[in-house]
């Protein structure tokens, strides 16, 4: 296997994605927008309504006039609610890029030249997987960083403490690449069965459903989003990723892109 060919393919795919503002504009803009706006909303709620809300969702006594419940609410909301919502970023970003990379070749009828080049199946797949994974990881880290910084600026101004990072929040960040790989593997797996980008995106985006359940499960007390929870999630997802990726690569046929 020639890694240089995979690198050439990855660079080409990334250039293609980032040459179209229609693709990368919303993909980057929306998460960054939320990374700034959501902490503002959180701190507003924490300041004005936290004691009563916190009493309902965080089991602690409400001390009138105290900011302890507000801080605790802010931590809980920043990690368990918004943090989990930000976990959809690696799935959606990886789905968008991978769908464009795999199903896009089919839709735009560009695969014939690529497949008749000397790049092997494994070089081709690795190149395309890297093209989806690298921007996804960069964007996720960037969004988590912006979110963390904005949250800390607001919380230190309001309460005099930095809310983030917490160990659970860092574990969430660590979980992100595994979620991205899952989304990419699903796109590879379905690339031979879909006709275009939209179909591939829609199917792979279904992976966000279990993530969206997490904040509700956390509020209802069904899931404790602790470090241990995320450690187990990473191990489970690594195994699932390895299986889906292996099945996708084994089942990948060059004709799938034509």
């Amino acid at each position: 296997m020639n890694f240089e060919k995979s690198y050439i393919i990855a660079i080409k795919d990334m250039k293609e994605v980032f040459s179209s503002t229609a693709i990368y504009g919303p993909m980057i803009g929306i998460p960054i927008f939320f990374a700034i706006v959501l902490p503002l909303m959180t701190v507003y709620v924490a300041l004005h309504a936290a004691p009563s809300i916190a009493a309902r969702i965080v089991s602690m006594p409400v001390l009138p006039g105290s900011s302890i419940s507000s801080v605790k609410f802010m931590v809980f909301f920043s990690v368990n609610i918004l943090g989990t919502i930000f976990l959809t970023i690696p799935i959606i970003t990886a789905s968008v890029i991978a769908a464009d990379s795999f199903a896009g070749e089919k839709e735009r009828k560009t695969a014939e030249a690529l497949l008749s080049s000397p790049a092997s199946n494994s070089e081709l797949l690795l190149g395309k997987i890297l093209a989806s994974l690298i921007p996804t990881i960069v964007l996720t880290v960037l969004v988590f960083a912006i979110y963390g910084i904005v949250t800390n600026i607001l919380s230190s101004n309001a309460f005099g403490v930095d809310v983030l990072p917490t160990p659970s929040w860092l574990m969430m960040l660590l979980l992100s690449p595994f979620l991205a790989v899952a989304a990419i593997s699903v796109v590879v797996l379905i690339s031979s069965h879909v006709r275009g980008i939209k179909e591939a995106q829609q199917l792979s985006s279904l992976l966000v459903l279990p993530i969206i359940i997490l904040p509700f499960a956390s509020i209802a007390g069904f899931a404790n989003l602790s470090v241990r929870f995320f450690a187990y999630s990473i191990i489970a997802l690594a195994i699932v990723d390895a299986i889906i990726l292996w099945v996708s690569i084994k089942g990948f046929k060059r004709e799938a892109l034509l």
Binding site: K12, E112, A113
Partner: protein, 307 residues
């Protein structure tokens, strides 16, 4: 190697449609043209040879290797598909550098080779432009440049001049003939008889997934002009009664005199006889044209049965 491409009893189906039906042939050195109507299986055959499709049955060997399984072969082969297969949002230069690098070329080599080809095809000015901003004809020139970047020993071309003007088509033909002079193998697919007539090459007729005729491009007029008609333009009008005395006369463009005459011919040899008769009767010939028949009608049922 005399037969760089060897195809043995290859069949390929897509669901219920049989695109290739038990095809066998060995390429000749130089240019091999595959002519056939829409849906004859020409592009499928080319894609099988390029290693994009795996045949359902039979075998394909290119330079002694199986193209579907052997990627090293692709270093020595190139395929120009009918839909250009260029990346729209990348510049021409980025497209060419990308493909050149996959063939192991350095950026300097790619630019040098691309500059030479693009200048010859009068498309160098577009090198920094994004592909989506280009016309179909220019895209075709870029795609041809891409296909020849690696100086392939085997060149597979699917309708390489379909959207090109006369001059650019001629440049592509010159390049193809250059490959022939270098004793390389070119497999060119087309459905345009006009294109076939410009080569002195081997000609395979493909219809409904089968090779129905294997001859030379020079033989095409035998079939093409059989039972066809020709139009002759004269410098001065000729009396219709004189024209009608010539065998095969169909019509004139004037009531009593005409300078555009139509004749039915049974074979290409009759063209000379008609011209000789017209000259004998004092006519001056300006041009002779024939009604190009549909490719479907050239090598029809009879030819297939004969084959």
């Amino acid at each position: 190697m005399a037969n760089n491409i060897i195809i043995n009893h290859v069949s390929k189906s897509f669901e219920d449609v049989r695109a290739l039906n038990d095809i066998s042939f060995r390429s000749s050195p130089g240019v091999n043209i595959i002519l056939g109507p829409n849906g004859a299986g020409k592009s499928t055959l080319l894609r099988c040879i390029a290693g994009l499709y795996k045949p359902d049955s039979g075998s394909i060997r290119v330079l002694g290797k199986e193209p579907y399984y052997d990627n090293t072969l692709k270093q020595r082969m190139s395929f120009l598909s009918e839909n250009y297969a260029l990346y729209d949002y990348l510049s021409v230069k980025d497209n060419l550098i990308f493909f050149g690098k996959l063939y192991g070329m350095s950026e300097g080599e790619i630019i040098e080779k691309a500059t030479e080809t693009l200048k010859r095809l009068d498309a160098y000015e577009f090198i920094e432009r994004k592909v989506y901003t280009l016309s179909r004809g220019t895209k075709q020139k870029i795609a041809f440049c891409r296909a020849t970047l690696n100086d392939p020993e085997i060149l597979l071309l699917d309708e390489p001049t379909a959207f090109l003007d006369q001059q650019s088509s001629e440049e592509i033909r010159k390049s193809v003939q250059e490959y022939e002079r270098m004793h390389r193998t070119v497999l060119l697919v087309t459905q345009r008889i006009n294109e076939v007539a410009r080569y002195n090459a081997r000609l395979l007729i493909l219809n409904k997934g089968r090779i129905v005729n294997d001859s030379k491009t020079t033989d095409i007029y035998k079939s093409m002009l059989s039972g066809s008609s020709i139009s002759i333009r004269l410098a001065k009008p000729l009396k219709n009664s004189v024209a009608a005395s010539i065998s095969g006369f169909i019509s004139s463009n004037g009531v009593s005199y005409g300078n555009m005459l139509r004749f039915k011919i049974r074979n290409y040899k009759e063209v000379n006889k008609i011209i000789a008769s017209l000259i004998e009767n004092g006519a001056y010939i300006v041009s002779i044209d024939y009604a190009e028949p549909l490719v479907e009608n050239i090598f029809g049922k009879g030819a297939r049965d004969e084959f």
